[in-house]
């Protein structure tokens, strides 16, 4: 490829969502933050009609505790219902043209040992994964799920879980703003779905069909191949509907096993651009929405800028690393070219490395190349972005995570100048800082304990697909992805067995709900406090100094928590020599 064109793809992939995030953020603000007096007017009529079905004529005002409780109860109901649907998929007569069997009886393999038969672990893991907006997949969609399961369990959760995240963000913002109450969870849920996520997905899904993504309820197609006239079974299905919400809702779980590398999920460079824009669109726009809601656009822009800067740095490092030839072809008579293992010709290395950064910065986790086969440093970039977990991240969840770092940055800055720290006109005291510390330290705890345990035992050692430090990277990546609610993976890892299914299932839940509720609690506490007048001594949170302070805090916590693990994994992998096969 012409080297001058290298940066064309990432330039578009960032420029389009950045430009669109401003009008979309404003629209979200108008559609989601509606005062009681204006409820039900205009487009708000639909969500308010849905709220009536729930037996509420108008939205009720909830405290942070009631809001959190409503969110948790709703998610618990989702968990129970989708578990039942997936567990019984082989008994449901509808929409199963290829006669997919029971998901709970896949059996599994550890090393060379076959374990046929029942393993409910994969159902547990799948439900945890989709209820937490993660979409880590230990099954393979086109092989193991019926069309009914793809729509009824997967697509449903893909809509309501990012909407739940968005709800918590709205409530948190109302708390920070100092509202009397934090809003009505169900009103927010219906507004988020009906006024923002659904319309966006409808447009994207239809465009995706246009680029070649199938949307059919017919079973697999059978073709007679040209050369040798053998039979090829071509799996298809209602793919476009799933892919649109998969990208737009920071979900990332593919209809097919290899996700957006599959030509039916991502048939052309155009579908690739549409997908990559959709991945980061709503997380970006929600930050702008935060600015309008807080009536402090400058502060929101500082957070947005910090996230964008971290993303751009990761992206540049990743693309550069992936332009280098693979170590596997060194000294072989192969034309000098970037690493193409695990990549599609229609995207090429640049679009693949760009996607790898954007999908892990946001908590999306869909892939358009196999991350396991990336050059080691290019593979370290997605891992690092998930470890930081604040670079746009999930819809709503990203803001919640960043808020915790903001509280800590404000606290540290306050210590340095010897003043009681303040944030948005409220005093930040011991309770808020404690909650923020717990939230921030919980994430590395989940990753390091999990990866350490599996690296030290047969659970991990027997399931890695690649030798040496790359094998450790596979374990580390899996736990990082689970804790960050991302869902991508170094997919060589043999992760469909009870140990991995249960361990990552638990990490998924612990990575999601505390990270939503702790910031909400902080906002609830701050909402109760009296506003202190702004003076010349007030630490400003809307300028470059604070941006630098925030980047420093994020990187310091990240580096202290994860540096040793990253050195043992991708860095050691990068420095290792290629061993030729044993003689």
């Amino acid at each position: 490829m012409d080297s001058t064109l290298t940066w064309l793809h990432p330039a578009w992939a960032l420029a389009i969502p950045i430009v669109l995030s401003f009008p979309l953020g404003w629209l979200m603000f108008r559609a989601l933050d509606i005062s009681a007096a204006n409820a039900g007017k205009g487009f708000d009529a639909i969500p308010m009609l849905l709220l009536r079905l729930l037996g509420r004529k108008t939205p009720v005002g909830m405290s942070w505790k009631r809001y959190a409780f409503s969110m948790l109860t709703f998610n618990l109901a989702l968990f129970v219902i989708t578990f039942a649907l997936l567990y019984t998929q082989h008994k449901i007569p509808a929409l199963n043209p290829d006669h997919k069997g029971s998901l709970g009886e896949l059996g599994y393999k550890i090393g060379d040992d076959d374990h046929p038969g029942a393993d409910t672990g994969v159902v547990f893991n799948t439900v945890c994964s989709f209820v937490t907006n993660t979409n880590l997949q230990h099954y393979s969609g086109e092989q193991h799920l019926s069309y009914f399961s793809q729509l009824a369990a997967i697509v449903w959760l893909m809509f309501v879980t990012p909407a739940s995240g968005l709800c918590v963000m709205l409530a948190t913002l109302r708390g920070l703003r100092g509202d009397k109450d934090l809003g009505d969870f169900y009103a927010d849920l219906f507004r988020g779905l009906a006024s923002v996520i659904m319309p966006y997905c409808l447009i994207v899904a239809v465009l995706l069909v246009g680029t070649g993504v199938p949307m059919t309820f017919e079973g697999a197609a059978t073709a007679t191949t040209l050369d040798g006239a053998s039979t090829q079974t071509i799996a298809r299905g209602p793919v476009a509907a799933l892919v649109a919400i998969k990208q737009a809702g920071t979900n990332g779980g593919g209809f097919f096993g290899p996700n957006s590398t599959h030509p039916f999920e991502n048939p052309s460079p155009w579908s690739n651009m549409l997908s990559i824009v959709s991945i980061v669109m709503l997380p970006m726009a929600s930050m702008i929405m935060a600015g309008f809601m807080l009536r402090n656009l400058k502060h929101a822009l500082v957070l947005y800028g910090v996230m964008l800067a971290l993303l751009v740095v990761g992206l540049i490092v990743g693309v550069n690393a992936e332009m280098a030839p693979s170590a596997a072809v060194r000294d072989l008579p192969v034309a000098v070219s970037p690493n193409m293992e695990g990549k599609e010709v229609r995207f090429g290395p640049v679009a693949s490395a760009t996607w790898a950064s954007i999908t892990t910065a946001t908590s999306n986790g869909s892939v358009n190349s196999m991350h396991d086969s990336l050059n080691p440093i290019a593979g370290a970039v997605p891992m690092t972005l998930m470890m930081l977990n604040v670079v746009f991240s999930g819809i709503g969840a990203g803001f919640e995570n960043m808020l915790m770092y903001v509280i800590i940055a404000v606290f540290i800055a306050g210590l340095m100048v010897g003043r009681t720290p303040e944030y948005l006109g409220k005093k930040v005291e011991a309770k808020e800082v404690k909650l923020a510390m717990i939230a921030v330290l919980f994430h590395p705890l989940l990753i390091c304990v999990g990866a350490g345990l599996f690296a030290a035992t047969e659970w991990g050692q027997k399931t890695v697909a690649n030798p040496g430090s790359h094998g450790f990277s596979e374990i580390l990546y899996e736990f990082t992805s689970a804790a960050a609610n991302n869902g991508s993976g170094f997919e060589g890892l043999g992760d469909n067995n009870p140990a991995w299914n249960i361990a990552t299932g638990i990490v998924l839940l612990l990575g999601r709900f505390p990270a939503l509720i702790l910031p909400l609690a902080v906002a609830g506490c701050l909402a109760q406090k009296k506003r202190v007048p702004e003076t010349t001594g007030t630490l400003r949170t809307d300028n470059l100094t604070f941006a630098g302070m925030l980047v420093g805090t994020v990187l310091l916590v990240g580096a202290l928590s994860f540096m040793p693990a990253v050195v043992l994994g991708p860095v050691a992998d990068h420095l290792a020599e290629v061993k030729t096969a044993a003689k």
Partner: protein, 195 residues
């Protein structure tokens, strides 16, 4: 407590109907109305028989056909119901061994061609179903295909050049050639000599 539980269950029912029933139906209806061919999977028919999908790689091993990239999907590759990449790390000896083997095979099959082997022809794609090869990958095979079809190499080179897909160049997409389309056109324009 009971009230919250009821709300949660009713909330589930409402969102289920919108997200899992109404939305997919709407996409299905609109999709089939505007783009019926794509919605069915971009299938290609020849003489009334489905020979494959434009978007899905299928195996070609005869000399007279252009060959796609190697595939890690399913046990024998190109399994369009079990897509998969190799997931081999760059430093894994198994990857190097596989690539060396594929390079040797390609060089033997394309003795007329002295250039180094294009990287995409010896690496598996992420899905194992990559329908395209690079322009270099097609040109590398031109001499072999020309010999098998009894035409000059220049004719095949020109034939390839006519079928380079540059759609998306403005957003940084690499130029590429669709293998199935190329081979279908080959059969039409240069039928192989009967042996």
């Amino acid at each position: 407590m009971i009230r919250e539980t009821v709300s949660a269950i009713v909330g589930c029912a409402i969102t289920f109907v919108i997200c899992a029933v109404a939305y997919p139906l709407a996409v299905w209806v609109i999709g089939w109305t505007i783009f019926p061919r794509q919605a069915a999977g971009s299938l290609i028919e020849r003489d009334g028989k489905v020979v494959g999908s434009e978007l899905i790689a299928q195996p070609f091993s005869s000399e007279k056909y252009f060959q796609p990239r190697p595939s890690a999907a399913g046990a024998n590759g190109y399994a369009a119901d079990a897509a998969s990449g190799s997931n081999l790390g760059t430093k894994n000896p198994a990857l190097r061994e596989r690539i060396s083997g594929d390079v040797a095979k390609l060089q033997e099959a394309n003795l007329q061609e002295k250039e180094p082997v294009p990287a995409d022809l010896v690496t598996t794609s992420g899905s194992g179903l990559d329908p395209n090869i690079s322009v270099e990958g097609a040109r590398y095979q031109a001499a072999r295909v020309a010999a098998a079809r009894g035409v000059t190499k220049d004719k095949i080179r020109a034939f390839i050049d006519d079928r380079i897909n540059t759609s998306g160049a403005i957003i940084g997409a690499p130029a590429r050639v669709n293998v199935l389309q190329l081979n279908l056109d080959l059969d039409r324009d240069f039928p192989a000599p009967v042996k």
